[in-house]
Amino acid sequence: MLRVQNLSTGYGRVTVVRDVNIEVEKGEIVSIIGRNGVGKSTFVKCIMGLLKTFTGKIIFHENDITDIDSFKRAHFGIGYVPQGHGTFPRLTVQENLMMGESINIAEKTTDYEVIYNYFPRLKDRLQQKAGTLSGGEQAQLAIGRALVGHPKLLLLDEPSEGIQPNIIKQISDNLLQINKDLGLTILFVEQNIQFIQSMADRCYAMDRGGIIGEHASDELTLENIKHYLTV
């Protein structure tokens, strides 16, 4: 579904991510793990089209999307939940959700009731401004918003950041359920060990802007993960 070949990217003239190759198959949940500042977010932003690709290729569903604008990548069916959730603080919860409708223009919009099933709290707060929600609710809103557009691939950048542990568990359970129900492919960046272990089928480890290891879920032992995450 997603093939990234020899990708390099960064900010301005500074290369942060070098020669990265990854593949994500349909229906898979793949994680990219690594310490702070190794280039995980930069890499995801580049896939979404928010940073320019210096060299290499991004192939999504047999389409070369390396050089197209981010809004067109969304139209192709990539749903993105950025670090810090990226909700629109002065729009209501409902308006935030409606903004997701333009993702994957080939497919019909997902029924809102489906979204409320996974995230019932959102339904209670439809008319509330997103800026007044708690961190956990904002994460749910951001994920729900991406799901509204019926994406083929969901890109999550540290969804657990700044959220209390019991809500993290709830969100990862929900995402697993969504993956099972809708066959949604998920690629996520994460540092939370629990989250990684409970979700990932496979994981790439990143350090200094490059991929330094790849593991299947049965190899994702605590020691293994800690090895990549500790400084």
């Binding site: 979404m48 604008d69 981010s70 809004f71 308006e95 333009s102 223009i105 918003r145 991406a146």
Partner: protein, 293 residues
């Protein structure tokens, strides 16, 4: 009876001042609020609207349609200016000030060279009526209703259409809106066009009440910028509240001490806001709304 006549006079002055502030600010407020572009050529966009309206009227088109053509004409002009100049300046407010100032100079001087110092405009339609011992213009009363209708129309565009939603989202977080499939460049272009149309419309509406000269826009410059400044970034809440408040200040002081003091009052309010509440009325109101819930 004399009390009634006096009260009516005060009310008329207030409404006239209110509609003038709203109409002169509305296009500027949209472009500044949604795009963070300060359009110093705003007055000249209004001037262009007045010229197009006058030219159409002279060509025999009824005034109403001439005004609408003025708005459309300035909208198209705004589209061209956006593609040529403004689109390169998104996210660079100071550069946009310099560029649009340049555009305003070119427009004023260009009109002076091409069309001379004055241009024949339509005369004020609809006549007048008498209350007490004073004459009042029916057209100016009509402008009040038009100003209010335009505010409602703008509210509808930005709060109840898909375009409005995307426009507000783009304003709050450009990258995120783009990642969700919104073509933010196109949103900005359309927003600039809509703002230009409102400016052109206001110019056309005031064309029958003023002399049509290349410096037509300068009559609106101070009022429009002060209204936007006092209103803050939100073109919906800000323009209404600040138009109302400044209308009271301007008409009250003008009634008591004359037009000059009325304008001085506006400037003093502007200075107070810059010092005390730099985000204007909409900043104050939004802060409150975020806290309540």
């Amino acid at each position: 009876m004399e009390i009634f006549a006096n009260l009516f006079n005060i009310l008329y002055q207030f409404l006239d001042s209110f509609s003038f502030l709203i109409l002169s600010a509305i296009g500027l407020a949209i472009i500044f609020g949604m795009m963070r572009i300060i359009n110093l050529a705003h007055g000249e966009f209004m001037m262009l609207g007045a010229y197009i309206t006058s030219a159409c009227y002279l060509a025999g088109i009824p005034l109403l349609f001439a005004i609408i053509l003025g708005a459309i004409g300035v909208g198209i002009f705004g589209l061209i200016i956006d593609r040529l100049v403004i689109c390169h300046l998104y996210g660079r407010p100071l550069d946009s000030v310099v560029a649009t100032w340049g555009i305003s100079l070119i427009m004023t001087q260009g009109f002076l060279i091409l069309l001379g110092a004055t241009f024949e405009g339509p005369s004020t339609p609809l006549g007048s009526f008498v209350v007490g011992d004073r004459n009042y213009s029916v057209y100016r009363i009509l402008l009040v209703f038009i100003a209010i209708s335009l505010l409602i129309f703008m509210y509808w565009i930005f709060m109840h259409t898909k375009f409005g939603l995307k426009s507000r989202a783009t304003m709050q977080n450009n990258e995120m809106a783009s990642s969700l499939g919104t073509n933010t460049k196109r949103m900005n272009t359309i927003t600039f066009m809509v703002g230009s149309m409102f400016a052109g419309l206001a110019g056309g509406l005031y064309a029958p009440t003023m002399a049509i000269t290349p410096s037509f826009g300068s009559a609106f410059l101070m009022e429009s910028f002060i209204t936007v400044l006092v209103g803050g970034a939100n073109p919906l809440i800000g323009t209404v509240v600040s138009g109302g408040a400044l209308g009271v200040v301007n008409s009250g002081l003008s009634y008591l001490y004359g037009t000059f003091i009325g304008r001085v009052g506006l400037l003093i309010v502007a200075i107070l806001f810059i010092r005390l509440w730099p985000f204007g009325f909409s900043g104050l109101i939004e802060k409150k709304m975020m806290r309540v819930k």
